[in-house]
Symmetry: C2
Subunit: 315 residues, 2 copies
């Protein structure tokens, strides 16, 4: 059974780590958001690709959800002493990934090519694809209530997400470069040929939307609607991790499984929601999606595997 | 007394570390070669600037002559595991310098501006200037006896120096970009206003030549000829460190203090040679330079200080 997963960062990565334990990893393709990517210190950093790779490899830092386990911070400490831009944490081992990627890109490799090389080095059995080899970058327009005279200004995603700890309100999002980007080789085929397409429990607005925004991807998913299963990243009205709930509210979308259902109904026949949201099943159905209720909080690989089994059983 | 030192890497750095102990550091300006610079892993690496800064700061790795003392190698080890380009050693602390420089350059800072910032962070009392803020890059044409079908091909300086351990014979050198480069702010003034201009014991062909090749620098030095003192990097017919002797022979220049004198006579009135070369003093004078004989091997700061005292006494 072929499974294709549209993926952002932590939630998607945990889901994938469970999925590869309940199905043949070789039949799994993750299509990963690249709109969080940035160049910092001259290094091409792909946070979602790395979180997926490190997590599926069992090497993620379990406390932060990003970076590598057992990491050291020698370079960052020294960079801070030099007065450098140390707001984006890069561990010593993690840095090697960014050095490798940047050098290979400079040598002419594609992002999908480098991602495949890294996945192999980390011993992954599944396929990890950036949604595009072209640059797509989320730009965030801050809301009128933003502090420090920032209201209305547009900043890079990581400036908002990490630099401002995603504390400032958001008025709008756009995905720079998306309209000119092409899906990476294999992306559309993976969606088309999958038995089940999963929309992982990732931030719908800044992880899944920029994947769908690459021309051809949204249409390919919509064509498979009957076999598309989305997992709600909102549980009991809150995001398990990250700012999805506040971001949805900022942009006029109800931060609930019902709000998620309204977003995903055109793309997916089924929404998997957590048991705490069982009472909203009717609302989800009312929004046009079949509702499956099951525990969705992935505290560890066993919970992730159980969720993955339910999800692929409904595709 | 103002002293201006034309500098390459290790030899110049050791000389400067001695010099700042025998004269007011605030009156010392090092004008440093940038033709060994390169971009690797997306990082702007300036080997000679870093060697000078680290050495004067007392933080150089004394065993290698490059990199920082007490360094760790976590990132490099991981990069090697990933199959990355690990031929150019970058320690974890050293990496912070390259990250800092690269990010500041991307933000619009000049190389001389960044170098000043780094010198301040490392607590330097003297001024360190790259000879130019513009890119100058040494390109090496390999000689007919080069191995592996490489004869006649042109490679980057570090590919030859580090990648090939400077083992391959050299047919020609050129300094790409030099003719379009401008001296960094302060460079020509430092030469013009110095009481003594020193040509440090650096490789004449790949460290000093690309400094002189920046338009305006050679002329400024020549105008100060009476106050220019060169220190021979060749001692007893051999380079103390690096390939200067073989490079000189490859390019038809006698690898001796006499050969050095013939190179530097148009620019410097005085050549300081090591005691082992006392017998060649007449040859040096014959080549048109005053010859000063003194111990020049800088095993430590005291020896470097003694040499510096002799050198500035003859400017």
């Amino acid at each position: 059974m072929k499974v294709c997963v549209l993926a952002g960062g932590v939630g998607a990565a945990r889901f994938l780590a469970g999925l590869v334990t309940v199905t043949d990893p070789a039949s799994v393709t993750a299509i990963v958001n690249v709109a969080d990517d940035m160049v910092l210190h001259g290094l091409h950093i792909s946070p979602d690709l790395d979180t997926v790779t490190y997590t599926v490899a069992g090497q993620i830092n379990p406390e932060t959800g990003w970076g590598l386990v057992g990491e050291s911070w020698t370079t960052m400490g020294e960079l801070e002493r030099l007065g450098g831009a140390a707001w984006f944490g890069l561990g010593d081992k993690d840095l090697a990934t960014h050095l490798y990627r940047t050098q290979r890109l400079a040598e002419g490799a594609t992002l999908s090519g480098v991602t495949t090389e890294l996945a192999r080095s980390f011993g992954l059995g599944c396929r990890v694809l950036p949604v595009s080899d072209d640059p797509v970058r989320t730009r965030v327009t801050l809301g009128p209530a933003a502090s420090g005279g920032l209201a209305g200004s547009e900043v890079g995603f990581q400036d908002w997400f990490v630099g401002m700890s995603h504390d400032e309100p958001v008025a709008a999002l756009r995905f720079e470069g998306a309209e000119l980007a092409a899906p990476a080789p294999g992306v559309v085929d993976a969606i088309t040929e999958a038995d089940v397409v999963v929309i992982a429990p990732s931030n719908p607005l800044v992880s899944i939307e920029p994947v769908l925004a690459v021309p051809g991807v949204r249409a390919a998913v919509r064509q498979r609607r009957d076999h598309v299963v989305a997992v709600s990243p909102i549980v009991g009205g809150r995001a398990l991790k990250g700012p999805a709930d506040r971001l949805m509210a900022d942009l006029g979308i109800e931060p609930s499984v019902t709000g998620v259902a309204r977003l995903y109904a055109p793309l997916a026949a089924t929404l998997v929601v957590d048991s705490v949201d069982a009472g909203l099943a009717d609302d989800v159905e009312g929004a046009g999606m079949r509702c499956v209720v099951t525990p969705t909080v992935m505290s560890g690989r066993p919970e992730a595997a159980a969720l993955a089994r339910v999800v692929i059983g409904h595709g």
